[in-house]
Structure formats: C-alpha cells, structure tokens
Symmetry: C2
Subunit: 394 residues, 2 copies
Amino acid sequence: MTRWDRSRSSWREHTDMALRVGVIGGGQLARMMVPPAVELGLDIRVLAEQPGMAASIAATATGDYHDAATVLAFAREVDVVTFDHEHVPQDVLAALVDAGVAVRPGPAALAVAQDKIVMRTRLSSLGLPVPDWAAVHDAAELGAFLDAHGGRAVVKTARGGYDGKGVRVVTASDQADDWFTALAETASGDALLVEELVAFTRELAQSVARRPSGEVVPWPLVETVQRNGVCAEVIAPAPGSAGRIADTTGDIAVRIAEELDVTGVLAVELFETDDERILINELAMRPHNTGHWSIDGATTSQFEQHLRAVLDLPLGAPGMHAPTAAMVNVLGGPADGDLASRYPAALAEFPEAKYHFYGKAPRPGRKIGHVTVTGDDVDDVVFRARAAAAHFDD
Amino acid sequence: MTRWDRSRSSWREHTDMALRVGVIGGGQLARMMVPPAVELGLDIRVLAEQPGMAASIAATATGDYHDAATVLAFAREVDVVTFDHEHVPQDVLAALVDAGVAVRPGPAALAVAQDKIVMRTRLSSLGLPVPDWAAVHDAAELGAFLDAHGGRAVVKTARGGYDGKGVRVVTASDQADDWFTALAETASGDALLVEELVAFTRELAQSVARRPSGEVVPWPLVETVQRNGVCAEVIAPAPGSAGRIADTTGDIAVRIAEELDVTGVLAVELFETDDERILINELAMRPHNTGHWSIDGATTSQFEQHLRAVLDLPLGAPGMHAPTAAMVNVLGGPADGDLASRYPAALAEFPEAKYHFYGKAPRPGRKIGHVTVTGDDVDDVVFRARAAAAHFDD
C-alpha cells in the first residue's frame, strides 16, 4: 500500500482539463461546496487555516489567509478564488487582483461585507431600506442616538462580528465603553455602528446568485428564526410571503448584487416590521446558513450555484422540489462528543430527513450540522426537522 | 503555505469520532459515494488502484486490491469495507474476514456476483426466473444448446465481463472457440455460460438496499436502454410498470438480497418478454449505473443508501421528488478532450438538468458522466436529458 500526498502532481492528472475552484477557508461552507463540485466534475481545492477542519477532504494546503504570499501561491494553481468567509484582508485581496487572479466576489464587494458601517453607508446611499443608524465614536454620540430613539438601541462592532458576537442591545450611553476603548487597540474600525431596535414581526432572508457576466438568479424568500443571535431554523418559502413581500425582497437583493458587483451567492438578512416594512439587517457574500435548505429542497443548491457563479457558468434553476422545506440547525451536539451513537435512532425515526454533519467536534452552541425536511405542509416539516435535529441534542 | 499529506494523522483529527467507510476501488462509483459521505459526516477513505482516478478526492492510499496485505492495511483503519467493483479476489476477502474486518457485501454474496455460472446456478436453485442456460465446456456442448434453442444463443464468459465485454451472440458452435481456448489459460472459469436469446420488449432494473440487521428497501423499478451492451438511458419509474410488474421485480430483488445475504445495494437487471414474463439478466452488488437517477430523483440516492446499509444504519426513504426522472449517460465525450468548453452551452440551455462528471478523460465509449432531468412528463424529461447530454458528444 502506498500512502500518497495529494499535493504531488500525479494525483490530479485526470483533472487537468477540469475547471479549478480555490476556496480560502476550511469551514463548513467550503465543505458543503465539495459535493456539488464532485458532481459537476470540478476540481475544488481548499486553503484551510489548519489541518482537521470541516473541509479537509478538499484541502490541498494549509496556511494563514492574512499572508499574501501564502494566498498567492494557492491562487496560482486555480482558475478562480472564492471564500468560505469574508475575513481575507483587503491588502491580500489587492495582491491577488494585481497578480491577475480572478477573485469572486471581488475586493470592492467584500469591503462592504467586511465593515458594517461601510455597508450601512452604501445601502443608505442607494436608497435601500435600512434601520435608522449612525456611526458613533464615543459615549456622547451613543447617548445622543439613544435620546433620539426612545432610550434603546443596538450597538455593533463594525468588523469581526458573527452569530451574535459583536452585537449588544444598550439602554445607557456607557454600556459600550469597553468597545470604544477597544477601538483604539484593534482593527475593528474607528467607530461603532448603532441602530434603532427594530420592532419586527419576523426575520427573513433573501439569497441570490450573480455571475460576472450579469445573470442574477434569486431563490425563494425564506423565514429565519434566530436564537441568541444564531440562526436556529429556516422555512422555505417564508409563509405568506408570496406576492408583494417576496417581490420586494427579490428586488432588494438583486439591486444590492448588481450595485455592489457581487459575484457568487449574496444573502440578505431582513426584518419584516409590525407596520409591514422590510428593512435590511445584514449581508453575507457567500453561501449562508439561511440557504442550507436548498441542498435538499431546491433544484440548484446555494453551494452548486455559488460554484457556477464564481466560474461564470450559467446559473441553475432555483425552484423547489416540494411545496415547503424546513431546516433546523444542530447546535452543540452531545456533551460526550459521540455524535455517531445518535445516528441510529435519528435515521430510523425520520427516514425522509436529510442529515448533514460538518466533521466538527461537538461543543456548546457550535453549529455542527443541520437537518432538512421537505413536504407539503409547513407545520409538519418544521415539526419533523426539529424532532430529527433534537436526536443530536445533549 | 504548507502542502500536506492526507495520510498524516493530523488531518483527520476532527473526524476521530466519525464512522469510517473504506471503499476498495477508485472509480466513479466510489466517487459518487463521496457527496453523501460528506453530507452525512462520514469519514470516507478510498483504496485506489492508482493516482488520478475518479475517486481521488477521497483516496487515502493506492495499491493493488489483489494483494491481501495491501487491502488488510487499508481495512484496519476503517469501520467497514465496501467496494467500487466486484473484482476483489475471494482469498483477499477471506483474509479480511479472518482478520475481523466487516466486509459488506460479504465474500459469499460476492462470489455469486463474480461468476455468472455460479449466479445462474444459485438463482435457478432458488426457483427464480432466469433465461434457459447451460455451462458449456466445448463447442460440442455449445452446439447442443444451439440445436435446442433455434440455432441462436448468447455466450458469456463467466468472469470479468462488463459493459458488453465478454458477451457474444452466436449462431454456430465454433463461434466461441477463442474463448474456450482462453479458458485454460486464464482465471475466467472452466466453462462458458450460454443462454437463450431472450425475446424481450424492454430491459428493466430493480435496485434494493439491505443492511446486515435485515432491513431491505427497494427503489422504484426503472426501464433501461442499452446500446452496444452499455447502459445508455434510464427512466424512473419504468413506464406502465405500476402494479403487477413492479410488485414482481420488487419481490425478486428482495428475495435475492435476503437469500444471498447481500448487504449494501443490489441491482437486478431484468428482461420483460413479449409474453409478459420477467427474467433475471444480471446482478450487481454495489451501486449501479441504472440507479444514478436516484442522486437527483429520489429522497435517498443509491450512494447514500449504500453507505447507510454497509454501516448497518437505518435506511433512508426511497421515494421520488417528481413523478418521473430520466438519466442519460455521457459516453465518450469530445474528441479534443475539452469537456469544460461544453459546460456553458449545456448549462445555459437546461438550467434544470443535473450534470455529473466523473473526473475521467474523454475516450470513445467511456462512461465519463451522466445527466438527470426530473419532471411530470416522461417524454419531456427523456427529451431534455438526451439533449443536455448531447452537448458533451463529439
């Protein structure tokens, strides 16, 4: 038996003619690109932060994505570079572009996703609906915003937040003092974002894919349920959204993709308010948790579509297999870490459920997998997806 | 950038708790197990014959599957061993079993798939419907069979045939002399199989999956179209087969799986005759070309089901997403080898088609991919699947 090194040229000789996609970052989003890449006959290569990550089956290199030389060496072996996350620094992205690498989405689009104040500024200038907001540099400015908004607001760090991290509801001007202090010390920007606390009835997400030559394809609008700032459940399509609401969110997402020149998948998280307004919450320029349902519920999943889009290939049909789909995240997992022992009962009870796990060790609150169920009745698919996922709770 | 070797232990540390499936053989069937393995969070490892094969993304070793030491070394690192093909010799399989390795399907079942005379003998002894057949050792015995069957018959080598190789229609007793001569020189058995030339109206295939603890789940019966002995198209479900025909084929496949103790996927290729009889043609104890439609057309694909079955996990639901599905093979591919140049037109014309390529270089007659289309109307899905696949013809 010969053990062999994937980095030797020989192992890839069969794929010499295949289109090569390089993904920076080895998390579950890169992992979930692997099945459609294998199916479409693409050569997918991942630059992982370290060994043993979720996308390790496709990792051809490990290295620090903050280092331009590392990323350039990886990029030279692929036809296009795309991302598992939005954290690659602008100087590294610029070095790739200078070297002639196709980077999708490009640095200008990613700059908007990397900084929430840049994002809010840009969306406001496009006239798109966003909550009231301000960039605040100190407690006095935060206090003024609170006075103008009924004494309550949401403060967010401009950079580096995700899954509820870097987000805080405040009711007094001194409740973000630690973050103001940190601004001077870190690369998190020179101001905090403060926003009105939106009275929403529910949260929605609208994803689209866009390719460089211009084609844009939206998926059905979905409803999302967040718990502790983390996506817990998604229902596709969002109940009762056909017509005006879905038309509005589709228009918003297509306009953002086009105005910001986004290539690949763009996910727009939205609030639906008590008074039936739609407000933009967050943007993600990559496949997103709110689109995982599409793996099993849509003709073209967000991961396949992202690959097509960044390669500038024609986009696939986004329609659904069934009237409705529910996706429930598996968060945390068993305390003893023994995920495999939970499979028999789960698979036996719900043979129609699609189970997804990311090769990540269980840890409290961590997204380690998800379950999708499709069917005719929304209450039924939500019930079954929740019960299936619950087999993996502690 | 650190290039790294998948065979080092570190890269797998995250999957220490994952169930490990080892696949012997690196062809497209092993490749198509990769997406569901990734989705289910399984650790899939392939022993490939050489670098650069279809399943190389999951290959952790290369080596000769005829060598027991090679296969044993590979098998010791996984929870269960299964197969891309049925060619692993019985002495190697016996060595695995002796070492305590879980081998699925097991050696006794594989013995029936490895030798067509053993297969016919076994099916006949079970009283299952097969064409008239005989094991013939020389031209005289062949001549006697021809005399008894209207002067025409099909001769098959007992071992090593596939995709029309090792199959010949004969009308005279001397037309298999070369094969009789070869019998003495090769491991192809000590007799040839001769069968009546069945007057069939169409060919069918019935797949089931069975796990060691006994659960058996059939997929819908499909109609298959062979050209030059190679599977060209598959329609699921087989038109007009609901009721008696599908009940019969389901019963046959379940009975074979149980009687032969098959674990994993069993595909039974069948003839439907002019007089509405069902006769068994061939068996395959692994995912099979006639089941590729299930990747995009069924809730649980044959590749996911095979993984579940060999791990003795509960089986998934086999139902279809849509009323009908058509799968058309891409055979050969462009003479210039440039498959990638064909993607834009194909993907643009049929955004709803699911394109699959196996990372294999185009070569006349070679199975390099397939296309599946699902929908409401059988003529429509067949038309579109054919037209989509034709984009990749020379």
